[in-house]
């Protein structure tokens, strides 16, 4: 039996992994990836709730996930280009070393 609970637990585990990555990694790209992972965990939650929810025919969960995926794509593109610009400026992607605001 696949219960809603198992999906929710899995998604919270994925969220925690993403969070751990975002907190521990020093490379900006990997931090961004960790954030993407947390987004994905939320998406999995949406789909699981759509599947087990009271009114699946409204497709709200699916719609939310589709929009979320699109936003995540946009976010990844902009985020990575910001990292590239920052790298070009400070010659590093290490977040600990990017400690100057002056352009």
């Amino acid at each position: 039996m696949n219960s809603l609970q198992s999906y929710l637990l899995l998604s919270s585990l994925l969220f925690s992994i993403g969070l751990a990555g975002a907190l521990t990694r020093r490379n900006a790209i990997l931090v961004l990836i960790g954030i993407e992972l947390m987004l994905n965990a939320a998406n999995l939650n949406f789909i699981a709730f759509w599947r087990y929810g009271p009114a699946p025919e409204v497709l709200t969960g699916i719609m939310f996930t589709i929009f979320s995926i699109s936003i995540a794509a946009a976010e990844a593109a902009v985020g990575l280009s910001i990292i590239l610009a920052a790298y070009r400026h400070s010659r590093t992607t290490d977040l600990d070393q990017m400690n100057s605001l002056k352009g």
Partner: protein
């Protein structure tokens, strides 16, 4: 829990954990692609075919490749070889474990999550299309605008300004 769910869950968790734990950044992204594919298959298992394929198309096909490109372009970064600092690692893991503990406790104790399997709801492409064109037409338009803005913004930000200065 069925076997297929277990396999997919293990695959996804292993992929994402490797993505967050491996030393080599490119390995991280490849493992992440595996994790994304696992999530996509979980979507398929939940009956959300369209979202599953979109997940593969966007995450494995685009975001992972984009991340790989970013890593290659910042390749001569010496700090990549350095290990992540130990204290940050421990602190991050503690926070993550704490968050997971809270979430898991909430999920287990919640009455809503103990639901049994209802009949498979249908989410055909036609239904999704109709929903996008009627109920969700405004978000769709905003999404188009956002994606266009993100496209232009990404190009402008990532453009090398040194050539302009010449």
């Amino acid at each position: 829990m069925t076997t297929s769910f277990m396999i997919l869950a293990v695959l996804t968790v292993a992929g994402t954990a490797a993505a967050m734990g491996l030393r080599n950044a490119v390995h991280c992204v490849l493992a992440l692609a595996l994790g994304f594919a696992g999530i996509a298959m979980l979507y398929l298992q939940l009956g959300a075919q369209f979202v599953g394929f979109t997940q593969i198309l966007v995450y494995v096909g685009a975001v992972a490749i984009l991340a790989v490109f970013a890593i290659m372009m910042t390749h001569n970064d010496k700090s990549m070889a350095l290990p992540d600092s130990h204290s940050a690692w421990v602190a991050g893991c503690i926070v993550a474990v704490a968050v997971f503990a809270v979430l898991a406790r909430a999920i287990v104790s919640s009455s809503a999550s103990a639901q049994t399997q209802p009949p498979q709801p249908a989410a055909t492409v036609q239904q999704i299309g109709n929903a996008l064109m009627h109920r969700f037409v405004m978000p769709l338009e905003i999404m188009g605008l956002l994606l266009t803005a993100a496209l232009i913004g990404a190009v402008v930000i990532a453009m090398d300004r040194r050539e302009e200065m010449k």
